[in-house]
Symmetry: C2
Amino acid sequence: MAKPTVTSADVARAAKVSQSAVSRTFTRGASVAQETRRKVLKAADELGYRPNALARSLISGKSGIIGVLVAYLDNQFYPVVIEKLSRSLQAKGYRVLLFMTDQGDQDAVVKDMLQYQVEGVVMASAHLSSQLAQQCADNGIPVVLFNRYIATSPANSVTSDNLDGGRMVADYLIRGGRKRISFIAGFEDSSTNRDREAGFYKGLAEHGAVCYSRGVGAYTQEGAAQAARELFGETKKPDAVFVANDHMAFAVMDVLRNELNLHIPDDVSVVGYDDVPQSAWKAYDLTTVEQPSGPMIDATVDILLEQISNQDVTRKAAVLPARFVERNSARKPVD
Amino acid sequence: MAKPTVTSADVARAAKVSQSAVSRTFTRGASVAQETRRKVLKAADELGYRPNALARSLISGKSGIIGVLVAYLDNQFYPVVIEKLSRSLQAKGYRVLLFMTDQGDQDAVVKDMLQYQVEGVVMASAHLSSQLAQQCADNGIPVVLFNRYIATSPANSVTSDNLDGGRMVADYLIRGGRKRISFIAGFEDSSTNRDREAGFYKGLAEHGAVCYSRGVGAYTQEGAAQAARELFGETKKPDAVFVANDHMAFAVMDVLRNELNLHIPDDVSVVGYDDVPQSAWKAYDLTTVEQPSGPMIDATVDILLEQISNQDVTRKAAVLPARFVERNSARKPVD
DNA sequence: GTGAAAGCGCTAACAA
DNA sequence: TTGTTAGCGCTTTCAC
């Protein structure tokens, strides 16, 4: 288990060249003669040399690390995002330093990221004090708030058009002949929930309708299940429910079917939001609104890389179009 | 957007102490006088100083970074693992450098991790050339193969008792009165699949039974669905099927119910493996075998940290007990 | 194209 | 306890 730590100096010695020649050989775009390069690579290979990225970062001022902050991975939307983000960043030559964070320790986490000289930060944490993004901005580090925004923050944001998405849901349910349409919220103070709910109400209003009843699921399945039990415990039950995300919608469907013996979509229409992979699973076959995670990731990476290279610090707010995905958990409009 | 990069020297100057005094103040366990520490902290706070972790790592030889390699996050088992692993490591003062890897680029990824001076590596990638783990071992970096093992590798491994798990499934199905019991495999060359399958056959044999038919799903839902269609396309259909993981089992259940109009568990018993969160969702209510992800992560972190601090490089192979989880996708033994 | 020399920001002896 | 002094392994002028 020897770990002799081969350095560029060792390689230089073996190849009988200067240490800088070794450095140049491993630096893209440096001018090295064919022959020198060959000698260096040969020696490096024999010694098992690998450049120390930390030392390189120290002097170059570029760590090649992007910090990613996530609150939880229960909702499959986030694993999908992490996978795509990670792959995209890797392809561009960056690495992901991943942090899971609860509300409590966010401050320490951001501090830690900063110490590791991350070149950019992606925050997909639901609760997010606007101060944290500010802290990064103060250090000149670009931040992208993913799937959330804070109006007062200097941070960039990438979201999908939750307002329009909510509106589409309302429109679809009304056209499907629904009369008593309810809503189960996520976190009431999250931007995603606010926009989806506002768009939903607007859509109802366009048809002269209003929301029949309302519960709060706090983006958890237990919360959503409980909210469903309450909303459907009334004598005059809703005939449709818009749930603020798919993750909660699955729990709602389970309660409606298994505890309340309601038939979906005949007795009640259920619509979710996100279009996570499970929505397409036949046992749920959930009508929902797609958040285009691919394009959202692309936008995130674009903004980040651009702000890392340029000093352009214009605040960007990308809003990608939402797409209604019709499946079989909500009664279809007859038209 | 100034980014003046405050260094310890700047703080020293402001606090009128030496640069080393600043360093000591930010080094746990160093001896600094109350008064000195106070002055330093005050100056640091005013200047907005944060120690550069990269510089620190360079000299201390400890990066505080653990590399984590994952192949894909479709199967919810892995997001759960990543979340727990990440939280546990953070709590112990380490950070996670996350890499998604396909078969093709594994080599480059490991090279990259090594360059970043990771202190340990967790590999949860399904296909894994034993050579990679070897490479890390050569550099004296502890490696834990998570949920997989390679007999010929010097790497540690943490798994659950897949052999016993497979055996329990066979036993349960037989005791449930099943006669034509089939198996849908994952990756045939993965250790998880090999052990689950071997244990399963052994369990059948103990009752004098054999496997009725067999398909391969390659741990994908499409593959599993196709395998199910084939196995159940025969005139004499199976009356039970053990699917090598939950992720595939959901797809199998969907095919059985929606395409073949079979009733679960009356017509056919389905048993999965992993006990991912979705298994408890009522639409599936999948009987399965739990892999204890919590204890598995604990073991992983323990092994890693111990080998990082000690030079004890004894190869460890932790095998945690599996637990049968009875739900309602398989006919229950009457006993 | 190449080598010498000067650091990047920090920790860790070593004296004082 | 404190300051001084070497570097950690690398990139990057700068002459040659």
